[in-house]
Symmetry: C2
Subunit: 306 residues, 2 copies
């Protein structure tokens, strides 16, 4: 049976593109039969990437069978993976997030985690000179992943490596980065097809802070007005989503990619306190703008206080 390569649940661009890149590498360079997979429908930006580069949508899987060979990319967190992940035979992990522990392997395996913005950046380095053999559409996925995770180099998670690799890929592919990134972000910003509950869960991670469990949701968009027009409905949907997911509160940050700021919704006193203590914000009303805040990993999570 093929080695399955997949990222986290609620697949974004990196969790859709990186499995495609790595499955190509395993198949074509390492001679290991491998297939990319997804743990759910790709988001609208990831779907744009598949369409633009004429890539097949990877199979969507619900779980893994016992003993199945898998490579995990773009996460090392069991909470973001199938419940039965530790029954699989994990043969590799490639990621750019904090090590959380909880994945079990029988013996030592290849693990590569680096503090860069994007999984695809690490893969570029691992693939090395074999990049010369990578077909155009897979290079296109790689470029899209990096532009997505760095928000076209605006995110503070961006490193010189992410930038240099993206520039080199764009030159190779004949892509004008500003034009292409604008198309990507337009695709990501079209959230008209999603319910409020879907929006709150689309790009969301759970964190415990001082005994409170938060679902920290981020919506990166070039048209924040489209999301904020649904503010009342989004706030109304928060208690139900929190309860269903075992959280105390949903925190929603609408990240304005072009203006490099986030708008946080303030439905109640708890979220007001979080905004004030975490970001020194002065809150009046049901939303607050946080200038410069773009990264959950680097700016939101490390500062969360109650």
């Amino acid at each position: 049976m093929s080695t399955l390569v997949f990222g986290h649940k609620s697949p974004d661009t990196d969790s859709t593109g990186s499995p495609i890149i790595w499955a190509w590498y395993l198949n074509q360079i390492k001679g290991i039969d491998a297939a990319p997979a997804l743990l759910g429908e790709p988001n609208t930006e990831a779907a744009f990437m598949l369409d633009h580069w004429k890539l097949d949508k990877p199979q969507i899987i619900e779980g893994v069978s016992a003993g199945q060979d898998v490579v995990i990319v773009d996460t090392n967190n069991p909470a973001e993976l199938p419940d039965d992940i530790n029954a699989a035979n994990i043969t590799g992990i490639i990621d750019h997030h904090k090590l959380v522990g909880g994945l079990e392997t029988a013996g030592p395996i290849e693990i590569r985690i680096e503090p860069v913005a994007c999984t695809a950046t690490i893969m570029w380095k691992m693939i090395g000179k074999d990049m010369a053999q990578m077909p155009t559409e897979v290079k296109g996925a790689m470029l899209t992943c990096i532009l997505s995770d760095t928000l076209e180099f605006r995110s503070p998670t961006t490193t010189q490596e992410d930038k240099a690799i993206a520039w080199s890929l764009a030159e190779d592919l004949g892509i004008d980065i500003p034009t292409y990134a604008a198309q990507m972000f337009a695709a990501k910003s079209d959230v008209s097809a999603f319910s409020e509950a879907e929006l709150l869960r689309m790009d969301s991670k759970e964190y415990a802070v001082d005994g409170k469990q938060f679902r920290v949701s981020v919506l990166e968009t070039t048209s924040p007005e489209q999301v904020l027009a649904r503010k009342a409905q989004l706030m109304a949907a928060m208690p139900g989503v929190a309860e269903e997911d075992g959280a105390d509160q949903v925190l929603l940050f609408v990240v304005d990619i072009l203006n490099e700021e986030a708008t946080m919704l303030i439905p109640n006193d708890l979220t007001k306190t979080v905004a004030e203590k975490s970001f020194g914000a002065s809150v009046s009303g049901d939303q607050v703008v946080l200038p410069g805040i773009m990264s959950r990993k680097k700016q939101i999570i490390p500062n969360l206080k109650v």
Copy 2:
């Protein structure tokens, strides 16, 4: 304050040499002020390496201060590190063991784990073209680490990469591997200065199997008769060591490097059952020879049954 680079408690050759290699790399190539450290006295083979290559013995530390920058090498297991390890600022992990979890970092850091025999092998790959700048004595440490962890390529953990890198280093250094390895193993085999309790803890890891906690100790030697001459005293010391360390039983495997076999001591019915169920051994008397068994990681731990 310098970044401290260290491996596991009871430092063997790889946990003594790899910090020296990586501190050199951080200082000389990356421009990061770094110093190697040890979590205890190096074993006799590691001491031979320091002496042979005229390397300074790294400082021995008892713990780490809060916020201290550290790079952890040759382990990712908190049980093999100072109790206060998670108060330090872990900036990197380079290892070749199974991921166990439990180390905490504030954000994503560089983690490189590969299923090769030796940490130094991974470092050689990471250092890449900068190997050209490595001084002779650090290359000597690198070669010693690889020959030690592979038991001169006899251990089943040995990969083609370990071999190729060791051969290349030996050629570069003008070292005849069989002659040099014989000196290393003679140093490791001289255990006359150690008490029985020290021998049982010298190269030992704890594992839980079916509700029993085992301290799995290995003594790699070219003169097993020197250890086995102390068999009665070693077996007499086992209950005390087990009790002090919170284990149910010490399992001692005396690995004969040249004959590629292990002798397991059988002080009681529990160890007899373990030998029979784990290795299909037929036991009569207080020891049993296990042909071909050389690696705790690859052959002993995965097979342990009660």
